[in-house]
Amino acid sequence: MEWIIARWVTFVATVLATGACALALALLPRAISADDDTRRQIARDAARIGIVAALALIPAALLRLADQLLALRSDGDPLFAGAAPLLTSTMWGSGFLAQSVATLLALVGFAHAHGAPGVRRRWIIPALGCLGLCATPALQGHAIGSETYTSLAVAADIAHVTGAGLWLGAIGVIGLLGVAIPNGDGIVNPVHVSRADARLRLLVPLIPPVALPGVALLLLSGVISAVLKLTDVGDLWTETWGRYVLTKMILVTIIVALGARNWRTLGPRIARADGVPALRRSLIIELLIALLVLLITAVLVVTPLPGEE
């Protein structure tokens, strides 16, 4: 169970960190209606989200390492007895070390970008770290274990996580930036509410050019990954793994439908007083469903593949 939670936190943090980079590098430069100070403030908060996400990856990684060592440990052996061969001479260990380096790169990069959030080149280091974070789950999952179409399976997994980061990550970061957090007494500062509303008005219309390629990448790579693992279409409803994939597909379709509704129906109403609360509600629902999708993804990694039950 702890392995699933650790994987889930890893996916959520990876997607959010990637979304923070997508926002700073692809969305904000097109927010021409905002002044420099507003853009800088948004970029700084995005960097803050990136820092928190990168920090969350550290305990998740340690938990996954401990779990892997426990699974390999013989009775009576110290926990870390098998750490050296696991990390230095296995594919899982290579993936773990690569992910650790990517986490460090992202963390340092986000901290660096936080210092001067308006400077685009400062976002290159965290973006490289996030690319590494998107690539490394493929080295620790079903894809790398395959002995047929390994390169295709790994490429599809990398594209899948990257697509999720560009789409769900960007929406997640915008959702977090567009929420006014209450203080200790449960009171929400009206200035913060108005700032959060203004951010949603500014950023939501900019989502489609980043979200659409992200959705396309996610769906195409998801189809390829699923087809590589299915032995028959019927696996989608007869096998546990297939049922999880089917549930994931339905939930992703709901998020796409909500996104389309936001774009076509709620988007044009965003300037009206009642437009922003409706949009915020829809975004929160999208994000809750996205969290569920990532949880199912974490469960899928440890679920027997079709034909193995």
């Binding site: 390999l72 013989s74 061969p85 999952g141 274990g145 002995e147 189809v223 390829i224 032995t231 193995e308």
Partner: protein, 132 residues
Amino acid sequence: MNARSMVRRSVLALLLVGVPALAGASMLHLKLSRSEPAANAVLTASPRQVKLWFTQKPELTVTSIKMTSGIGATAVERALAPLSRADAADAPITAPVGAPLAAGHYEIVWRTMARDGHVLNGVIPFDVRDAR
């Protein structure tokens, strides 16, 4: 037909033809396919080595193979080493048994890991009768 339309049609054709072509290339987790001695085998001579064949190449450096002899409180366990595996895709993991086994009941207790980190283990019981 303009360039954009051609790209769209090409992607669609790739999806319609290419993706179904991948079906059946199912990826399965690592599994033990067979062993020497085989499970529940009754041998008339002590085996000189243990061989484990897997459906995929396992991670040798984190693999362990132990041999237990006896039952319950009198059971004795020892690790078999060094483990080796040839480069061939279907090569088994091999472990020397060491000194010849006396007649009795034995179990091979093994644990290994797939490239994707999937850990699996198992026990292979066998008997040696009238060993010389």
